[in-house]
Subunit: 318 residues, 2 copies
């Protein structure tokens, strides 16, 4: 049975997820302009950039400066990505930043080795230190992510039980440390999910963590992103991460290149919600303007659909 939420919250990842993947470093003025446009849409969470190694990710080296330059809009939470303690401390020192403390779990050893130079189990144990670190600085943990929740290009299919292990760990450690349970985020990092798998996963997570707020980070690698969003919402999920214009993918990627793997497009996702009568607090027309700005910045056609076709309101008004 369907149990759609009345209101769905979108966290915008485009400025970070999108520009991080591009080979070009785009002028900071353009990224400021985009973030300022996004601030006017009604989005309440915008991920501005990441505090990670400038050697490996030079595109994000000016994230601190970017935070200085944005025109902060009241009520909007500007966030950043970090992957270790050093990055977290750098994030703390940024202006205008909202610290959305998070825990990161890997279902795949190979992917964890690649990103963290340790096994998935070691990475999980490190999260105890992160909890202490966040508490020391007075932050509650907002979100616990389980990455490559449906499958991993390095390890293949991921069983539901593997994801549940991590979420059970979160539930147990939160109880032990008297920490409020964070949002439980199912991340389909490499686009392996399908609508039925999404529904099974969400059902299983609700079973082990009744009353938890469950969210999803969805990639549209194989074209099922919006169908997965629909399936998740039909299970009551009301929190999603998405990217303006579907940024993060690359239409110029060679065939079989993993770079063709953008997030679901924020404007297509919001369009779906509004068509289903689900509120988002976001103005679709303003999102479309921001999406078109991204396309102008990148200088190439992006994968979002509604940004090209427009919504339906103008036709309904007659």
């Amino acid at each position: 049975m369907s149990d759609f939420p009345k209101f769905v919250e979108f966290h915008e990842e485009g400025p970070r997820e999108g520009f991080q993947i591009e080979k070009t470093i785009y002028p900071i003025e353009q990224r400021v302009e985009l973030i300022d446009l996004l601030s006017e849409t009604g989005l309440k969470y915008i991920q501005v950039g990441s505090f990670v190694s400038p050697t490996y990710v030079p595109q994000m080296a000016d994230t601190g400066e970017l935070f200085n330059r944005i025109n902060r809009k009241s009520g909007v939470n500007y966030t950043a990505l970090w992957l270790n303690e050093k990055g977290f401390l750098k994030t703390l020192s940024a202006n205008n930043v909202h610290i959305d403390s998070r825990l990161l779990f890997y279902t795949s050893d190979l992917f964890s080795q690649q990103n963290n130079n340790c096994s998935a189990i070691e990475m999980r144990e490190r999260q105890r230190d992160w909890i202490v670190l966040y508490k020391e600085h007075g932050y509650k943990i907002e979100t616990a992510y389980v990455m490559t929740a449906f499958g991993c290009n390095l390890e293949g299919e991921i069983p539901v039980e593997r994801v549940l292990e991590d979420f059970r760990w979160v539930v147990r450690v939160c109880e032990e440390t008297e920490t409020p349970l964070p949002n439980l985020m199912i991340a389909d990092t490499m686009g392996w999910g399908n609508p039925e798998a999404v529904k099974r996963m969400i059902g299983a997570v609700y079973e082990i963590a009744p009353g938890a707020r469950v969210g999803m980070h969805i990639h549209d690698t194989r074209g099922l992103g919006i169908a997965n969003l629909y399936a998740a919402m039909s299970m009551g999920v009301d929190l999603f991460e998405s990217s303006i214009a579907g940024l993060g993918g690359c239409p110029f990627a060679g065939h079989g290149d993993a770079r063709a793997a953008g997030n679901i497009s924020t404007e297509d996702a919001v369009f779906l919600c509004h068509e289903l009568g689900i509120e988002t607090g976001i103005e679709l027309d303003k999102l479309i303007v921001a999406a078109q700005k991204v396309e102008e910045i990148i200088g190439a056609p992006l994968m979002g659909r509604v940004m090209h076709s427009g919504g339906l309101d103008k036709y309904r008004r007659g």
Copy 2:
């Protein structure tokens, strides 16, 4: 409750729907090569071109020659589009052609005026003549299409009842004329549908025509195409029209240009089916090869996703 079919049939529309919309006329050799590649995928229905006015649609002027040149594969039905008696008679004279006799219904007067120079009701009455014409030539009616079934850019929202009127007409006239009921095709010509609207529509059509085979022609204008496919299949629908690589849309369309309105991509649709355990008789890898050929022909990135990312089998095999 979900009632997914075990097997879903896809009718390929790319060679007609795709090249008809392009401003360029591509060499006939390239279109032959594409159709021959599609013939090897397991697809059983391929729409090769259309017999329409060469003045208005010069891209399709060589459809007869195209039919001569294809390497006809046994078991594959090569079809063509026609829009009036003259076109039908031209189609009859083509080589290698499968006549999939169809009836066309318009929910929107303005769209019917634009395409047929008559009202939707007049167009419906003309279908009586088409039934006679098809019978005279010994063809059964395969499909009855109701176009712009969810909404029309010219007339706005289309009520379900308006679609049902046409299908009721089909049921009644088929009874009167002792004609077997054709497939009832719900065409979202302009991309107004959403998954819940699709489910409501299909439920309503089953009610007025119990036992009928219902299909859908889905456009991905606003990014909901695959979600709509999923919703339709969850209602038991097992017949869809789609386009290789999502051909028919145009990533270079100006913002708000209706040309950004491709069909759902055959390979993304087939990928969804296989992930859900639904058979299609189609080899995904061969579809991807055909989709990449289309991109090579058009010389620009197309909107299909799986054609760029590949499927999951190679990762599952390890």
